[in-house]
């Protein structure tokens, strides 16, 4: 890549996944409730799916139908906003073929169960995820061991996992500050995308240790569509 050229948001996210995949990389989308964590994760997933890479979307709060609706909604908005990257019916079919959804009822998600389900998929050659999205897993004082177990699973399957991490209004007052519940597990993560509403705009701050050979673009969430775009 030309050093003067900045990364596009999806190139940047893809580079992250590629660099950390084999090491069982972790990424976190940190935001308050209702700010757009799921929409952001679905976009990350769609960027990966458009490159014909497999994504396993794990939801701990929504049903399969609801997750499908998220994808329909976000892709429709992407089509409207970026007609040049039009997701035509053929590409959509490819996306669906590379996507698998797994949902767990409340309090039913255990790393051991997840490992079993994932093995069901891979051992029979049904699906090998390159990116896993886990939406709705809560960070608690005592579940560092769960995240560690998931890290082992990610490493075994050479997959990068993006999580949603919910923060609370009173917890974060400055940028680059993490919710207290996240701090004990912060070391397990290779990248964080922090979503911070600022006046009329919603900024996205990327923090990563990954050496990047080009300037990191300033990202924001379009408040109307909840799509990622570069700040002007």
């Amino acid at each position: 890549m030309n050093k003067k050229e900045t990364y596009s948001p999806h190139q940047l996210l893809d580079t992250l996944v590629q660099n950390y995949r084999t090491k069982g990389g972790f990424g976190a989308v940190i935001a308050r409730a209702g700010v757009g964590k799921t929409a952001l994760l679905v976009q990350i997933s769609l960027y990966t799916l458009m490159q014909k890479k497999n994504v396993l979307h794990v939801s701990l709060k929504d049903s399969i139908q609801k997750v499908c609706l998220w994808y329909d909604e976000v892709s429709n908005k992407m089509n409207r906003l970026f007609p040049e990257k039009n997701i035509d019916p053929a590409l959509w079919d490819t996306i669906l073929a590379h996507r698998m959804i797994m949902t767990f009822g409340e309090n039913r998600f255990e790393p051991s169960t997840f490992k079993e389900r994932l093995s069901d998929l891979t051992e029979q050659g049904i699906f090998y995820p390159q990116l896993i999205i886990i939406d709705g897993l809560l960070t608690k004082k005592d579940n560092r061991s769960d995240f560690k177990a998931l890290k082992t699973i990610a490493k075994e399957h050479s997959a990068f996992i993006w999580f949603t991490i919910q923060s609370h209004r009173h917890e974060i007052t400055h940028s680059k500050e993490f919710p207290p519940s996240f701090i004990p597990i912060k070391d397990l993560f290779d990248a964080t995308l922090q979503v911070i509403p600022k006046g009329d705009s919603i900024d996205i701050e990327l923090l990563t240790q990954m050496p990047i050979d080009a300037p990191i673009p300033e990202l924001m969430l379009d408040p109307e569509t909840m799509l990622i775009r570069q700040s002007n």
Partner: protein
């Protein structure tokens, strides 16, 4: 009159197959004294349950035809429609729900909410039918009604509230605690006919109080009087029932009752709930469309002095001629009256009016407002509306799904041929999802329906009821073809064989489109004279019935004609029609045609330990797995699978999951088949063509 309608209930009993609804109906008929002995569905006495009157139903233990029946309980008149539980017969369920005011959702306390229950529940929601849940089979090993209640909440989104608590469970199931009267109810006698009410057993007193509080909390949201009474601690039974009823009618509460129909427990209390909680016809708003008045919606009034509006919701061809099941929405339907079929505008004289009780009937003088009955000898189709005046009033049409599978049938002798024809005429009139056609090439009779079992049952019925022996072919998938790119055509049809010749040139292009067929005329300057344009359109449209490539029906083509030529003497409609056919064939071959196949949405419910093998079985069938939903002791797998790969899947699923998994399947969309499969289909169709010649 008003009092009469308030004491009327039209209810349906819907559930998953084997949840026990036919047994439940049988017990209801026994306790309401419509029958005097009890026969079980797969009974040892060889009689079978009263509602399953067809021989085949008795043998398979499934209910095929929704028999309507009438009974009385505590001065209330109840019309019950027993509905089939298998997905292949959903049209029966749909029809029943159309005319019902309330429903009983029967659930198995062991199996819980299964995929078919979800389908049935969606149907109830579509027709806004308020329902009460009856958790049956509480005597079975593994019974857990509380888990089923939770599933009602989480899987079906119902606000389920317990109206009863079980006294003992599994083999120890003795009776129920009624949370309204706060009494324990036991069902004594050899058939559970003697009700004994006692104080609540000491060990259940606390939990009964806790569940009653929950019930009051929910019901008070719909009744201010109940809230006030709760604050003053002066709740009466009638106030509580009133609150629950208001919530139920608004479809915001689903009261849950318990029992075991097989062990004769909990049926009478369910009947009490039907009469006290479910709505009477006057509490439901029914609308009709007035075609004479710009298709406006008319609200029907449940008054006998208003003009008649009635709906024929089911036809049956019995030994005494055609039987038409009718629900009267407005006015009164009297024997000897003259009524009009609003679809055909034909005048009909009402002959015999009857009330059905499974396969027995009782002559009556009239069918009153809100009630259900049947007529003899009325020529009509299922879904027709009858009115007393010559007005174009029609009840909202019923949702009829398109058939997805077909089968060729062949009579083995002449006698069978005549019988088959009789049987098919009857079946197609009775069931709008069952269709019959003739393959013009092979001359075979093709029957189409909603699934393998659906067609199997009709073939069986031909054998049993009509003594018609038939040979059946392999199930056939309804393939289609479409084009994938734009292509030009320019075709000259020219024939000179002495006398007047034939000449026509048609040019333009065709392109893919969402609709079935679109024709656009862009001819300027009269290169094709206006009088021949419709012949061109007809020529192109005729080609859609059978493709020149794989010979399947075509869909999704936009034809544009923009040039052409004619001859003052030799051009004719016939010549341009022929030219259009030639042009279509020329363009179609260039437009990269592809075969489309029906894709089914397949939902499998399985214990989690078989998830891998179920996914693998779907994967092997070219299925696209959308995802899996973990529900603890079972999981749901959603997928899209081509119909052609689903034949015999039930056997495969049973053997790979020790019979513990089940699936439902419904048509989703048409999708292009992969090239290798297209080749195979082409070879097979060529082979079958050779065979038929």
């Amino acid at each position: 009159m008003m009092e009469q309608i308030q004491k009327l209930r039209n209810i349906g009993i819907s559930a998953h197959i084997d949840a026990g609804k036919t047994t439940l109906t049988e017990r209801i008929l026994f306790y309401t004294k419509r029958i005097h002995t009890i026969h079980d569905v797969k009974g040892k006495d060889g009689v079978g349950a009263t509602m399953d009157f067809m021989e085949l139903e008795k043998e398979r233990g499934i209910t095929i035809t929704s028999a309507a029946t009438y009974c009385k309980w505590n001065g209330f008149e109840i019309n019950i429609i027993d509905t089939p539980g298998h997905v292949d017969f959903t049209i029966e369920v749909e029809r029943a729900l159309r005319v019902l005011d309330g429903g009983i959702l029967v659930l198995c306390s062991v199996g819980g909410v299964q995929s078919q229950s979800i389908t049935v529940d969606q149907q109830m929601t579509r027709y806004h039918v308020p329902c009460i849940a009856f958790i049956n089979k509480c005597d079975r090993s593994g019974a857990n009604p509380f888990r089923v209640k939770d599933q009602l909440i989480h899987k079906l989104g119902h606000n389920a509230v317990m109206l009863q608590l079980p006294i003992g469970l599994e083999a120890d199931f003795q009776g129920v605690v009624d949370l309204i009267s706060m009494k324990a109810i036991y069902f004594d006698g050899s058939n559970g006919e003697n009700i004994r009410m006692e104080e609540i057993p000491a060990e259940l007193v606390n939990s009964a109080a806790e569940y009653r509080d929950m019930l009051i909390d929910e019901a008070s949201l719909f009744s201010d009087e109940l809230t006030e009474a709760a604050l003053e601690d002066q709740i009466t039974e009638s106030l509580l029932i009133d609150g629950i009823r208001k919530g139920l009618l608004a479809k915001k509460i689903t009261p849950v009752l318990l029992g075991s129909a097989y062990k004769n427990k909990g049926v009478q209390t369910l009947l009490d709930a039907v009469t006290t909680l479910l709505p009477d016809p006057s509490e439901i708003t029914n609308q009709a469309i007035n075609y004479d008045d710009n298709n406006t919606e008319v609200v029907l009034e449940n008054k006998s002095d208003k003009p008649l509006v009635a709906l024929a919701f089911k036809l049956e061809d019995g030994p005494y001629g055609q039987l038409t099941y009718i629900r009267v929405y407005q006015g009164i339907l009297q024997k000897g009256a003259t009524i009009y079929n609003s679809r055909t505008s034909k005048k009909i004289k009402v002959g015999r009016v009857i009330r059905m009780h499974a396969d027995q009937m009782e002559d009556i003088q009239s069918i009153s407002t809100g009630s259900i009955g049947a007529l003899f000898g009325v020529d009509c189709a299922s879904g027709d509306t009858f009115t007393s005046e010559k007005i174009q009033l029609s009840m909202l049409s019923m949702f009829v799904p398109e058939p997805v599978i077909s089968l060729s049938i062949k009579p083995i002798d002449n006698k069978s041929e005549i019988q088959i024809s009789k049987a098919l005429t009857r079946f197609t009139k009775e069931d709008p999802t069952f269709k019959v056609s003739v393959n013009s090439e092979t001359n075979e009779t093709i029957i189409s329906g909603m699934g393998e079992l659906h067609l199997e049952v009709y073939v069986e019925r031909m054998r049993r009821e009509y003594n018609a022996d038939v040979e059946i072919g392999e199930p056939l998938v309804a393939y289609r073809e479409t084009i994938t790119k734009k292509a030009d055509f320019n075709y000259i049809h020219k024939k000179q064989t002495g006398g007047a010749g034939q000449f026509g040139r048609v040019a333009g292009f065709m392109e893919p489109v969402e609709e079935h067929f679109v024709f656009t005329n862009k001819i300027v300057g009269g290169s094709i004279p206006t009088q021949f344009i419709s012949a061109c359109q007809k020529g192109f449209k005729d080609c859609m019935d059978k493709s020149p490539v794989y010979e399947f029906p075509i869909t999704g083509v936009h034809v544009v004609i923009n040039d052409g030529a004619s001859h003052s003497v030799d051009s004719s409609e016939m010549a341009f029609r022929a030219a259009s056919i030639g042009a279509f064939i020329e363009g179609y071959r260039k437009a990269k045609p592809t075969i489309l196949e029906p894709i089914m949405k397949v939902v499998v419910e399985t214990p989690p330990e078989f998830q891998g093998s179920v996914m693998s079985s779907l994967n092997k069938r070219r299925g696209m797995i959308v995802g899996s939903q973990d529900q603890g002791n079972y999981c749901t797998i959603e997928s899209y699978v081509p119909l052609s790969e689903m034949f015999g899947y039930s056997t495969v699923l049973r053997s790979s999951t020790q019979g513990k998994a089940q699936f439902t399947m419904e048509f989703d969309s048409y999708r292009p088949v992969p090239v290798s499969i297209a080749e195979q289909i082409k070879k097979e169709s060529e082979l079958s063509k050779k065979k038929s010649h």
